[in-house]
Symmetry: C2
Subunit: 149 residues, 2 copies
Amino acid sequence: MKIQHLAAIAIASLSISAAFAQAKPEDQIKYRQSAMTVTARSVGVLSAMAKGDLPFNKELAQRHASTIADLSDLPLTAGAYGPGTDKGAPTKADPKIWSEADKFKAAFDKFSTSARSLPAAAGDLNSLKTALADLGKTCKGCHDDYRMK
Amino acid sequence: MKIQHLAAIAIASLSISAAFAQAKPEDQIKYRQSAMTVTARSVGVLSAMAKGDLPFNKELAQRHASTIADLSDLPLTAGAYGPGTDKGAPTKADPKIWSEADKFKAAFDKFSTSARSLPAAAGDLNSLKTALADLGKTCKGCHDDYRMK
């Protein structure tokens, strides 16, 4: 994607995230948790294929990989971690999300980058296994620091 | 997509949905509501572009269109409307979902078909407006009959 396009998306995303960041904390919390719930299930389907618990099916794998990739940065770029959303509804969001905002963003970006490599990797079981292992590390990397027990 | 591939996806999906249908009602309810929450926000972004409340941005529009398309049939094909999931957690799922299962599936398919046309339409503001209006009818069509007030 051209740099001008990335810049345009970034600017548009800022407008959207600014608007969403004005949404009630419980709505922001609900949105980000919803994205994670949907993602978790798609990761589960791919993991089952990787482990052999489910027959590998290329179209289905690419479908779930695409789901994970699409959702991967939405919680952050949608502004669903706005100020004050460490409360307002049950949430495991660690306060470091806000006190270390740059590091949180870096961890999220690692996840999102890894997620975006999934659709191409999902065409083949072996490349899927490799991409999934990489994705898992990025999930863990963020959760270890930013999701409370 | 070749018919053999569609058949293979259908078979794989049945295995997955059978597995998920054994998940606790509250988990099925949570999954389908999560998919709807994420979808609603992406529809909101596209609607804002269609109304001119947000500048049209092709990549962002295609991103959100892709999100809607990917999620569109997952609640149903994932088996998240399994038997007994009219209860177990707060849900607006109408009992007709189970008493008129074929009609419910038909309504869901209409939505999913419309959703899948979104990514291509999202490249241009005028075609996006048209596709979005069509999508809205399918949302309403299902909600009128199968989502309680």
